[in-house]
Symmetry: C2
Subunit: 246 residues, 2 copies
DNA sequence: TTGGCACTCGTTGCATGCAATTCGCCATTG
DNA sequence: CAATGGCGAATTGCATGCAACGAGTGCCAA
């Protein structure tokens, strides 16, 4: 416990100014979401830190420590952790604390396989259902990726890749399926960090996307699915090569 | 609030005997899970009541009321609700309470479509990966279903159907994918209650399963997928026919 | 020296009180 | 008469204190 410095009066735990402090760590991504609860804020921040790799798989999530860090009581921290447990990003056992989820290799392989199929499914549906303007928007993102792969900016490439996949989710016209795919993507993300340091991977990734984009533009469901499945399968293999320590 | 009858001393809110009372409502399914926390208990109970239809979509979930009902404080109730929100069975908005999830028709259609594809995927994978004994076990469940469909016991038919689908999930050798499929199944379940009152549906369901079982026995992935997709699609159409009020 | 055991400490689980927000109701006004 | 503004009640959100559980440590006995 060790209530050390702060005064901590009830309902006045931290001024808004104080509370801004914590988001300074996450590189300019300050989301000034004012209309949501503290627990929801914490959930979003912690999820982001897990997905972005700031909190590595296996890292302990101490309630009191997080409460101090975010200048709130343990209650909203606990609620945020419970939701993260339910979403699969965090593992917890009663009286034994919570850690960032760290699936064993077999489970991780299953997540990759499921991701491949979900993405393939979305791509196939998108090939059939996207509007003309959506197809053009997808093509535009794809072109951007080519340009970025030449420049060799992994961070930017990653961001636009996310947009690319999100565009396909949206094109599938199934919000629920999109949520499943996105959630799976996020849960796998902490284990593919290393890939984005590999510049050579960018061009290959773009080439794989090319098959998908072509099929989507032509409305060829089977080809779009196959292309996306192959792409994610490459991602999986790439991970398997890089990761000896998983 | 109205602290009416019980004394309610801290840490001694209810004796074990008192706490047994609530589970008597759910028809003999008393799970004497002693080693888990109260919040976890509540989560399981509420999820079961939602899936089983005791709590209908749209029903309000008042924290204080649930706390009284289960003889606990609001804290574990809140944690259970948060987890149910994260799992999609409950919707909640800050300061406005929680209700049993009630997706609009479009979203529900998406859930049915996703379920069809997930089940199809599992069936296809199971056709390739099941052991011989697993295939025989599946066949056995299928035979049981035929017998039950003759007897016309919808409740029992439902239970064995669940076991049938779970056997296919297990045969797919992908725990993560199985979780997705099962979660989706549970989220859709509250909207297909009516179907199990329709005795005629039982025989048709069994006939649809037949295609899947045959394909699985022969290791024919494509046929197993197609069969399962067609089955779930029938389920969806059946729902669409029954439900004017969704 | 080693195995078992009780004790202690740290962390999590739960209860409770207060603060904050929302919504319904009623009065006031155009 | 309708619309709007503010007040009150009810409900949720958060802080805090205490209880319970687990893990580590040191002691005792074999």
């Amino acid at each position: 416990m060790t209530t050390d410095t702060t005064s901590y009066a009830p309902g006045k735990a931290a001024t808004p100014e104080e509370r801004k402090a914590w988001s300074s760590t996450s590189a300019g991504r300050v989301v000034t979401a004012r209309k949501i609860t503290r627990a929801e804020e914490l959930r979003l921040i912690l999820a982001d830190e897990i997905v972005s790799g700031q909190l590595a798989p296996g890292a302990p999530l101490d309630e009191s420590e997080l409460a101090r860090r975010f200048r709130v009581s343990r209650t909203p921290v606990r609620e945020a952790l419970r939701q993260l447990v339910a979403s699969g990003l965090v593992d917890a056992r009663a009286h034994r604390g919570a850690i960032v989820a760290h699936p064993d290799p077999e489970r991780l392989a299953g997540m990759f396989e499921a991701m491949a199929e979900l993405e393939a499914l979305c791509a196939g549906m998108a090939a059939e259902r996207m509007t003309v303007s959506e197809r053009h928007a997808l093509q535009s993102l794809h072109d951007q990726l080519r340009a970025i792969s030449y420049l060799g900016d992994p961070q930017r490439f990653h961001e636009v890749t996310e947009a690319f996949h999100n565009a396909i989710y949206a094109g599938a016209r199934n919000a629920y399926l999109a949520e499943l795919a996105l959630a799976t993507r996020k849960r796998v993300q902490p284990f593919r960090r290393a890939q984005f340091r590999n510049i050579g991977r960018l061009a290959k990734s773009h080439a794989e996307h090319n098959r998908v984009v072509l099929a989507v533009m032509q409305g060829d469901r089977a080809a779009a699915s196959a292309g996306m499945r192959a792409h994610i399968d490459t991602v999986r293999r790439e991970y398997a090569t890089y990761a000896g320590k998983a």
